[in-house]
Structure formats: structure tokens, C-alpha cells
């Protein structure tokens, strides 16, 4: 197994010293799909990763390398074949690439359902939902139907619903991949702002290098078939960043080279 390298060392994260208890602890996790009798190829191989409280980590890798699988494991939607996953703060919130809002509920009711399932008393749900919609800049959208909203608005409602779970950890599985470039750029800004305002730990999955560098404090590169951590970068750049900042572009280029090398490796065999 290749050791995880850290290129830019001991960068202050701006979120206080790392505490002893991580927000997510992934220890030597393996994942193989298939039946016990006929196991398939390993999808994840010996993944070890800790996420500090309040940290923003991007998991980066080519399509099909097991990013969604790893996120599902952290979310508790699936179990690892071997190894341990510990989320001390309880069930994490999860945002999908598709908004996954329930079309039979209004935008506000979607948020309120998350509150209700968390047993927030009825009287407090409505104002809390309004506050969360305000946080994603959708105040006044409470009564709107999901199909009346634009793609960017739907993802923001989905973000409000995820935040309504009040988890310490927010998992995001390529949440902006289906959006156009300008909308995605706006949502990057919003996500960074919300992360800083709420102090939530974020594990953000993407195959887009620039997106990772723009958002993350730490970028973790995964290999494909099987998925392993091949390298990590600490991104020591002030927020808010912009995609065209030279430093962002430089690091993106470096990471892209590494990712290309990893992808090329598969073409040779």
C-alpha cells in the first residue's frame, strides 16, 4: 500500500487545533461487492482516513473508483467488508448528485420532514425551516413545489434539508456535477460560506480537480480498481477562493497530472 504523502505540511486550518476525537474515522476499510461464494473485484482496499471536526475534505478520483461506495459506507447505507467506520457524532447527513427532494412535499416541507424525523417539536419546525432556507438564500421559497424550482435552487433546498439534520458531518456526493458552470460556481461560494458559518465537517466527493481545490482544506486522491488513498494535499489557501486564482490553478494542474498518471496506469495493463 502506498503511504499517504502530504505535500504542503502542517498548514493551519483556521478552525482551531485538531481535537483528539475525529468527526469521521475510517480504519482499514475494504469493500467487495458480490456474494460470499462469488466475491467480485475489490472496490475499496485498505482505506484509512480521519476527518477532523470542522474540516472540509474532498475525495477525488476517476469515475468508478469507489467514491460513492465510500460515502455510502460512512453514511451507514452499506457495510464495509472489513475494517471499521466510526462517526462519533451520529448519523451523518448525505447529499446526492440528484437533489433527491420529495416531489410530494413543498421545498419547506422537505426541510421540515428532516426536522420532524429528528423529533423537533411541531411548533419549532416552521421557523427552523425558514431559517435554513434563509441560510441557503431561499427565504420565501417555503411554499414552492420542487418541480417549480431551478436545478441550482433544488440543490440548495437539498442542502438546507441536509443541514436540518443537524449532523456534525455533511457528506456530499458530487452534488453540483449536473449543474451548469455558472450555477456551480455560485454554489461553491455558498457552500464555503455555509461551511464557515455552521462549522460542520464536510466530506465532498468529486471527480473535478478544480472543484476540489477551490473548496477543500485537504484533497485526498483515490486510485481506481481497487480504490486506495494514493496521495493527499493540504490546500493552504485563504477562503473565499476563486477558480481562476493562480495558486488554485497551479495546484489543480499538479493534482491533475497525478490523476492522469493514475488513469494512464490502467491503460497499460
Amino acid at each position: 500500500m502506498s503511504p499517504a504523502l502530504t505535500t504542503a505540511k502542517n498548514a493551519p486550518t483556521g478552525r482551531g487545533p485538531a481535537r483528539a476525537v475525529p468527526a469521521v474515522r475510517i480504519g482499514r476499510v475494504h469493500k467487495v461487492f458480490g456474494r460470499p461464494g462469488a466475491p467480485g473485484q475489490a472496490v475499496l482496499d485498505d482505506i484509512t482516513l480521519d476527518v477532523r471536526p470542522g474540516e472540509f475534505v474532498c475525495l477525488l478520483g476517476a469515475s468508478g473508483c469507489g467514491k460513492s461506495t465510500l460515502l455510502n459506507l460512512i453514511a451507514g447505507l452499506d457495510r464495509p467488508t472489513a475494517g471499521e467506520i466510526d462517526v462519533p457524532g451520529g448519523r451523518p447527513a448525505l447529499m446526492f448528485q440528484e437533489h433527491a427532494l420529495f416531489p410530494w412535499l413543498t421545498a419547506g416541507r422537505n426541510v421540515e420532514l428532516a426536522l420532524r424525523l429528528r423529533k423537533v417539536p411541531r411548533a419549532r419546525r416552521r421557523p427552523e425551516a425558514e431559517r435554513l432556507l434563509e441560510l441557503v438564500r431561499l427565504g420565501g421559497a417555503h411554499g414552492r413545489r420542487v418541480h417549480e424550482l431551478s436545478g441550482g435552487m433544488r440543490q440548495r433546498v437539498a442542502m438546507a434539508r441536509a443541514l436540518a439534520q443537524a449532523s456534525d458531518v455533511l457528506l456530499m456526493d458530487e452534488p453540483f456535477a449536473a449543474l451548469d458552470a455558472i450555477t456551480r460556481d455560485v454554489l461553491h461560494g455558498e457552500l464555503t460560506r455555509i461551511w464557515r458559518e455552521t462549522g460542520v465537517s464536510v466530506v465532498f466527493v468529486t471527480h473535478n480537480v478544480r472543484e476540489a481545490v477551490r473548496l477543500a482544506q485537504r484533497v485526498v486522491l483515490l486510485s481506481s480498481r481497487p480504490g486506495r488513498v494514493i496521495r493527499e494535499w493540504t490546500v493552504d489557501l485563504p477562503q473565499p477562493r476563486r477558480a481562476e486564482d493562480p495558486a488554485v490553478a497551479d495546484l489543480s494542474r499538479e493534482i491533475t497530472e497525478e490523476l492522469r498518471g493514475e488513469i494512464r496506469r490502467h491503460g497499460r495493463t
Binding site: 447527513a93 438564500r137 455560485v186 461560494g189 477558480a243 486564482d245 489543480s252
Partner: protein, 308 residues
């Protein structure tokens, strides 16, 4: 999505890629995007709705009446086999003036609706169990589908023997007709629920019964409502079959019995009136109860265009 970015190589970063202008005024830019992309919703004006959906059926009914009257005038068959529309109308007036019309209709409608509600109470949990429990599904689903295609008249003779000539027998026939449709509709609705909703529900903490109540059932509602609609049609058909075959003076006079009595009296106008009333009740319940529910379910999810 990553394509252009991961292959971009030019060193000069001055030329910003399109859409990288987020830093300036994110709120304003976001608001502009929302305004551009959001779908405007409008309601059709009432006159448009009337012309589009009320006028055509009226024209169709007028046409049928005209052809009917034409056939009577042309004397295609004997008078007692084909009475004129006016004579059927007179039979209706007569029934109304004798004060029997509403009684007859209500006897059947109340039987039908009560039977349907019981079928609902049985079919819904049955559908839920068939959809979610693998063993029950393998065992019961083919039987349910088979029962759906069995004409419910076939149940009248055995239920007569089991129950005798009474209201219980009527309700049994209704249940045998409607329960499979309702259960099957729910199973089909549940099968069509996107797995994404179930996973989203689970991450929100909706598992087990809470998951069924908050996620599974609402997500399956369109298929369920379609099943209810079909269930009503089957309930009504079964009831009419039961009333026509098992008519007895001891039972309250319903539409089916009325139809059968008029046949015994060789009163063709009354027979036609009976058929029209049965048809009318079926259509009225469909239009007054099921159509609005279905439209509301589909529209609120953006599954049906407005103004159609």
C-alpha cells in the same frame, strides 16, 4: 463536467474560464440564475377549461341522442325493443315523481361506497405486505393478478351458497372484485418508487414504519390512486352483477334490481333507464371523487401539465 478543466494546460490564468465569476456578487448572480431557470406556473382561465373539457362530451352526448332518435324515426325495429329518448325521459320523470329515484340510486351507491371503503381497508395493508415481504410477494402476487382478470360475476353463485341472499353476500362480491385491484395498484406504485427516495429517507432517519409512512406510501401514491380508481370500477361492476343476479324483494331495491325488475315487466324504457343510471353513477363518482384526487396528486408533483 471535469473534461475541460482537467485537460486545460495554458499557463496564462488571466483568461478566466466561463462561469468563474462567483466572487463578485454571489447573491445577485444567484438570484439572476434562479429567475432565469425557474419554471413559471400558470392556471388556465375558466372559459378555456370549459371549452376544452366540458364542451366535447356535451357534443358527443347530443350526437348519440340524435342518432338514437333518427333510428326510432326510421323504425329500424319494433317500438318495444327501441323506445324513443322521450319515453326513457318519461320513465325517469315517473320514477322521480313516485319518489323512488333517489332511494334506488342511494341504495346502490351506499352499498358500493361502503364496500369500497372496506376493500380499501383490506387492500392497502395487503398491498403493503405483498410489496415488501419477499415470501408473501412470491406466494400472493400471481394470485392477485389472476383474480384481477377474473370477471367478478363468477363470484355471485358461490357467495350465494355461502352467505345466502343478503347484504353480506353483496359486500363479499364487491370485496372480491375490488381488493385485488387496490392491492395490485399499491404494489405497482411501490415498485415504481425510485430507490433514491428510499436512500434519502434512510439518511434522514426514516426506517421501518416511519419510512413507510413518510416516504414509501407518499412516493407510491400515483400508482395507489390508479389502483383505487380501478378498484372502484371493479366494486361498482361487481355490485351491479350481484344485484342483477341475486335480486330478491327482501333486499333493498338498488339499480341492478330495478333493471332486472323492468326486464321482467318487459319495460324496455325502464331497462334503458336502469343502464343509463348505472353508467351515470359510475361516471359521476369517477369525475367527482377520483379525477380530482388523481389530478391533484399528479400536478403537485409536476407529473402533469396544467391547462390540458
Amino acid at each position: 463536467m471535469a473534461g475541460p478543466e482537467t485537460t486545460r494546460k495554458e499557463p496564462g490564468q488571466a483568461a478566466a474560464p466561463p462561469g468563474a465569476d462567483g466572487g463578485q456578487d454571489p447573491a445577485g448572480l444567484g438570484a439572476g440564475l434562479d429567475a432565469l431557470e425557474a419554471v413559471p406556473v400558470r392556471r388556465a382561465p375558466l372559459t378555456e377549461v370549459l371549452i376544452r373539457s366540458v364542451l366535447p362530451p356535451i357534443v358527443a352526448i347530443a350526437l348519440v341522442l340524435a342518432v338514437w332518435q333518427g333510428l326510432v324515426w326510421a323504425k329500424v325495429t319494433d317500438d318495444y325493443k327501441l323506445p324513443s329518448p322521450a319515453r326513457v325521459w318519461a320513465a325517469l320523470r315517473d320514477l322521480w315523481l313516485r319518489g323512488e329515484l333517489l332511494d334506488i340510486v342511494w341504495t346502490s351507491v351506499s352499498r358500493g361506497l361502503f364496500g369500497f371503503l372496506v376493500a380499501l381497508a383490506i387492500g392497502t395493508p395487503l398491498g403493503l405486505v405483498v410489496a415488501r415481504v419477499r415470501f408473501v410477494r412470491a406466494a400472493v402476487r400471481p394470485i392477485l393478478s389472476g383474480l384481477q382478470s377474473l370477471p367478478s360475476v363468477a363470484w355471485v353463485p358461490p357467495t350465494l351458497i355461502w352467505m345466502g341472499l343478503n347484504d353480506r353476500m353483496m359486500y363479499t362480491v364487491i370485496l372480491l372484485g375490488a381488493v385485488p385491484s387496490i392491492a395490485n395498484g399499491l404494489v405497482a406504485g411501490i415498485d415504481q418508487v425510485p430507490p433514491l427516495f428510499l436512500r434519502a429517507g434512510r439518511t434522514l432517519g426514516a426506517r421501518g414504519l416511519r419510512g413507510a409512512w413518510h416516504i414509501l406510501l407518499p412516493a407510491a401514491l400515483p400508482g395507489y390512486v390508479a389502483g383505487l380508481k380501478q378498484g372502484w370500477a371493479f366494486a361498482w361492476r361487481s355490485l351491479m352483477a350481484a344485484e342483477i343476479i341475486a335480486s330478491s324483494p327482501d333486499l333493498g331495491l338498488g339499480l341492478g334490481q330495478y333493471l332486472e325488475n323492468q326486464r321482467n315487466n318487459s319495460d324496455m324504457a325502464g331497462v334503458l333507464l336502469g343502464i343509463f343510471l348505472i353508467l351515470f353513477v359510475g361516471i359521476a363518482i369517477e369525475l367527482l371523487v377520483f379525477a380530482p384526487v388523481e389530478r391533484w396528486v399528479l400536478r403537485s408533483r409536476g407529473l402533469q401539465e396544467r391547462a390540458r
